[in-house]
């Protein structure tokens, strides 16, 4: 926070947001990331909607599955590789706030264009005589 005047103390090596002092957590995360990459590639060859017994979802199921896997990979990178597990709340908030804004942007864009696609374009096409 505001500058502490004084006791000069460096944090002990390997503690705090400097990150883990050992290589094992990194190796584990690396392994997990490789596995998840294989999973996501594999899923792309599969019709996820049929696999979970809801064929009416169509491609949407694949998209959701792919994004979930990507989200999981991203979380591992942020939490361990980027030392978010030891970071200050301020820095965590910065990330969360950015992601909230990302969500707002995606939501509004999608809603507007879904409407555009569903209603407006249809109306225009109808007005032009169904071209």
């Amino acid at each position: 926070m505001s500058s502490q005047a004084s006791t000069p103390q460096a944090p002990a090596a390997g503690h705090g947001a400097q990150g883990p002092a050992h290589w094992q957590p990194y190796a584990l995360v690396f392994g997990a990331l490789l596995v998840l990459t294989a999973v996501t590639v594999g899923l792309s060859y599969v019709d996820v909607s049929k696999a979970i017994g809801m064929p009416q979802l169509g491609r949407a199921a694949n998209i959701v599955a792919g994004l979930l896997v990507a989200g999981l990979k991203a979380s591992l990178v942020v939490w361990i590789f980027m030392h978010m597990n030891h970071e200050t709340n301020t820095n965590r908030f910065i990330l969360v706030f950015s992601l909230v804004l990302l969500g707002v942007a995606f939501t509004v864009l999608s809603m507007d264009f879904v409407w555009l696609g569903t209603y407006a374009q249809g109306a225009v096409r109808a007005a032009l005589g169904g071209s």
Binding site: M1, S2, S3, S6, V104, A105, V108, F113, W115, A120
Partner: protein, 597 residues
């Protein structure tokens, strides 16, 4: 001097620069960088204002050759063969006037100049968190500004699609848009945006991490709070502009089609493009940035006004906490109102309604602030010196600009007044009437600290009176023009019969605008003359309580010999503890009543 061990960034003092280059060109001192921003922005203000004067000539005297300059520059830049403004030239003037004023005058002035100068001083720090980045921010801004103006010199001239650069006009080859002019302007804005993002990061870290002992969040001057909120917008909204600009450049240079639909026809010509894009996509991405941008334009000036009103009313700001909550609300809501610029664009009507609701909500915190400013004045011991006069005008003109905003927020009303002079009136009231007046207030107020001299008070009073008069004469009638249906970005109104009765108003406004422009010469003269020949200023001419007034003029490069310890809030005016004086500086320890160093 023996070597010292430095234990924190706050304690660290940069070595003082000794040679001219490191003192005045590539400086790490926030005070020098602030002045660099200030001089450069004032120069761009003159240029941007001149562009507006040319616009106003054309509107009032359609197709008449511009006196003197038109004769000299026939067929050059935005002039046609007779020395009148050409149609493409008119669009260039309007576009560049907007872009220059927003990105190269106001933001660099209120954030780059005043933010840079004041933030470290207000929080009791020796400099910003990242001084090298600070220097880089300025040296991205200046070349960007130069690049903007070089676009006038290329074939077909500068950008001419409006400052909002809507596709297809800004995008499609085959539309009448200048080619390289637009590209250069997009690159210039990209650079300026990058400068802005880095500056915002710098200020956020500075304010969070480098406050002096005792300078808690609830003791910060409102200038600092305002700069903090502004910096959040700068960091998180500006990248959207960069992305939009990148996509537009990609469309223009790489042949992609993000914003161009299939089957586009401009005039009689079908545009050959890949298709598959949406013009509305640009509007969403652009306004996601550009709406927070207008809060960047107003929040710092609200901060200046708040602290100046307190100092010259000899009263704390009414409702300090409410002011902070209001600014925080503006920060939260400011990201979710952008659709109100798009009510008539083909936006989903349900989204339109949602944006209308959020926009009306965001008026509330601004209203709270207005009442708090009035409450600050009420019962105060008013000292009507130039900064105060400008600050009070800020409040009155912000009220006018804010009220017109309420009408625009209601989408049924906006359908009628969108793209008319009503909108032009609104944003000039808030950006010129409010923000620029606040800049005049801030300049006259902090000039003694920045330059060690006083500005001439009589000239300031005269400048204030003329500017206030001619500003209102020029812009208030625009509300009526807008209601009458006078469209904006219109080169000549004579082609529309229903606008003919309004022609005298156009001439009236132009004459007022010329007088307004001429009045600014007073300020320019006052500023420049006072820098060199102004009366030497005492350390605290206004008897103000914030930390910058506790250090001597000229401010040494390390700001504070000893980092201050803060015991009080920023507006300890007329405090009983201070008697017999009527104020206490923030670093006065408890029980040591009375002002003084």
């Amino acid at each position: 001097m023996s070597q010292e061990t430095v234990d924190s960034v706050a304690d660290y003092i940069h070595p003082e620069a000794t040679d001219f280059f490191h003192k005045y060109v590539w400086s790490y001192d926030h005070k020098i960088i602030a002045k660099q921003y200030m001089w450069t922005s004032f120069l761009f203000l003159i240029l941007g204002g001149t562009l507006a004067m040319l616009l106003r000539w054309q509107i009032a005297y359609p197709n008449q050759p511009v006196p003197v300059i038109g004769g000299l520059l026939k067929s050059a830049f935005f002039f046609d063969a007779n020395g009148a403004i050409s149609p493409d030239g008119y669009l260039q003037l309007g576009t560049m006037h907007g872009l220059v004023m927003v990105f190269f005058v106001i933001i660099p002035l209120i954030v780059g100049a005043f933010g840079n100068y004041l933030i470290p001083l207000h929080i009791g720090a020796r400099d910003v968190a990242f001084p090298v980045l600070n220097a880089l921010s300025y040296w991205l801004y200046l070349p960007a500004g130069v690049l903007m103006f070089t676009s006038f010199f290329v074939d077909k001239g500068a950008a001419a699609a409006g400052w909002t650069a809507y596709p297809p006009l800004s995008d499609a080859a085959g539309a009448s848009t200048p080619v390289w002019g637009m590209n250069l302007v997009l690159m210039a804005v990209f650079l300026a945006g990058f400068s802005s993002i880095l500056g915002g990061i710098n200020f956020l870290v500075t304010i969070v991490k480098l406050r002096a002992p005792g300078m808690t969040w609830s003791r910060l001057p409102l200038v600092t709070w305002a700069q903090f909120i502004t910096a959040v917008f700068q960091v998180l909204a500006t990248p959207m502009l960069a992305a939009a600009g990148a996509m537009l450049l990609f469309d223009r240079l790489a042949g992609s089609s993000f914003f161009l639909p299939r089957g586009l026809v401009v005039g009689q010509n079908a545009i050959a493009n890949t298709g598959g894009g949406y013009p509305l996509l640009w509007q969403h991405i652009f306004w996601f940035y550009a709406h927070p941008a207008v809060y960047i334009l107003i929040l710092p000036s609200m901060g200046f006004a708040s602290d100046i009103l307190a100092a010259f009313s000899r009263k704390p700001v009414f409702g300090y906490r409410a002011m902070i909550i209001s600014m925080a609300s503006i920060m939260g809501l400011g990201f979710i109102v952008w659709g109100h610029h798009m009510f008539v664009s083909g936006l989903n009507p349900v989204m339109g309604m949602a944006f209308m609701v959020s926009t009306v909500f965001i008026a509330l915190p601004s209203g709270v602030k207005v009442f708090n400013w009035l409450g600050t004045l009420w019962g105060g011991s008013i000292r009507l010196q130039p900064p105060m006069l400008y600050a009070i005008s800020f409040v009155s003109m912000f009220i006018v600009g804010g009220l017109s905003g309420i009408f625009m927020a209601a989408s049924p009303v906006d359908i009628y007044i969108h793209d008319t002079y009503y909108i032009i009136a609104h944003f000039h009231y808030v950006v010129f009437g409010a923000t620029l007046f606040s800049v005049f207030a801030a300049t006259t107020y902090w000039f003694p600290k920045m330059f060690g001299r006083m500005m001439n008070a009589r000239l300031s009073y005269l400048h204030w009176a003329l500017t206030f008069l001619f500003f209102n004469l020029a812009f208030f009638p625009m509300h009526f023009l807008g209601e009458a249906g006078h469209m904006r970005r219109l080169m000549t109104s004579t082609g529309y019969e229903f606008l003919n009765p309004l022609a005298p108003w156009n001439e009236f406004i132009t004459l007022a605008a010329f007088a307004l422009g001429a009045s600014q010469l007073l300020f320019m003269f006052n500023f420049i003359h006072s820098v060199f020949f102004g009366a030497p200023a005492p350390d605290n001419p206004w008897e103000a309580s914030t930390l910058e007034w506790t250090i001597p003029n000229p401010v040494p490069h390390y700001n504070f010999k000893h980092l201050p310890t803060v015991y009080r809030g920023p507006h300890e005016y007329s405090s009983p503890e201070a008697e017999p004086a009527d104020w206490l500086p923030q670093n006065a320890p408890p029980g040591h009543g009375g002002a003084g160093h």
